[in-house]
Amino acid sequence: MSNFVKQLLIILTLSWCWFLLSSANIFPALLFPSPPEIIKSFYIIFAEDGISYDIYLTIIRMVSGLVAGIALGVVVGVLIGFSSLVKQITFWVDFLRSIPGAALFPAFMLLFGLGELAKIFSVIFATVLIVIINTTYGIKNMNKTRLMVAQTLKLSKLQTFFQIILPESLPYISVGIRHAISYSLIMVIVTEMFMGTQYGLGKRIVDFHLTYETGKMYAVIILTGMVGYFVNRLYIFFEAKKIHWMGR
């Protein structure tokens, strides 16, 4: 049996379970729509509600926060990694990381208003710390043998950094990025739910919830999962190409 057929069977089984559950009338049909209803809603949100624009906006917010968070995280992580205060600073990074990003929403809204800036800053906050931690770890735990090789090659400090230390820590940085990707989507969805906006998948979930269009609500939830999955796969594909020595 091909992989595709197996996956199809799983989807059909799950849908069938959902279908049985919804037709058992444990929950009112309005609150727990059946699979055909959700599939129909999928069509309607694309055809009539213009969900494509929401997907686009959510991805843009996610990616711009992510890129900024990763760039900042790598730079700060490298600086901390080389600093003599690495232990002390790591404590503070860990402490900050223990604050759920959502707890900072009010502060972000006060500082950056209700617009895009506040949303993107929330994503940066949620992603930068994990990237910092992994980058610092990569720098601290780099292979000393290759550093010695670099020394006998008489490389300059800059060459040693870009040719040896950076590629050496890439696998660690990449682990941070993987976590950051999942955090960023969580953050975007939640900010779209609570910080004023017209568009975005998070906003749509809340709106369809308020209007009891539950079929559409579930459709958008599934769509959000698809976005997360797609971005993740895209990154893993990129990682396998560019950081091919990871874990070998």
Partner: protein, 245 residues
Amino acid sequence: MLKIINVTKSFGQTKILDGINFEVADNEIVAIVGPNGCGKSTLLKIIAGLETMDNGEIKTSKVGDEEIKTSIIFQDHRASLFPWKTIGGNIEFAITKMDYKLKKIKVDQILSQLNLTKHQHKFPYQLSGGMSQLVAFGRAIAQDPDIFLLDEPFSAMDYHASLKLQQQFIELMALIKKPACIVTHSFDEAILLADKIVILSASPTKVIQILKNNIERPRKIEMLSSLEAQEIKQLLFTNISSFLL
């Protein structure tokens, strides 16, 4: 020529190297044997300039204060090669100050010398242990050093791979004609490869004895069962028996 004169090194309160003296002549291969923790690797690092010494001197026949160029081959080839570079890339990276075309020619030359041409686009993790150590040799050759420093280069692979690599090393050194210092635990390896065997004591480490090995190079592995080789081995055992107790 390289002269190691009265090299002394302590780590904290512990004295490791306590006045090490020996010479490496041009085109001479010197094996350094001694018990674990006696500072053999530290000595190599000092020669390479990767570690400071408290006292002593490393003299070369180079004029002025020109630094000696060394290349180290480490025991752990996995940790010493650059996994983000191909085999060809690893070797090329070691060649500095040369224009692109000449570089390419030199890399190709080293690759064919080592029989690695068909593997040049592979990555280190795609090769066997013996073969990746061969790449590390290639990178060391590309550095064009005054002396090769080898830190237990044949011990991170299985016995047969290690014998094969030793044979390749012998052939390479016959072509390259440069001095080398090899740290090893294996007396057979020392006898097979070296012209001179420096026996170190346990730390604080001194030179116990320097044995000459006049068996003609390049040698074949069968040589190890010869009478001359057995005699040297006998002497090695006699010399280390004191610190086996």
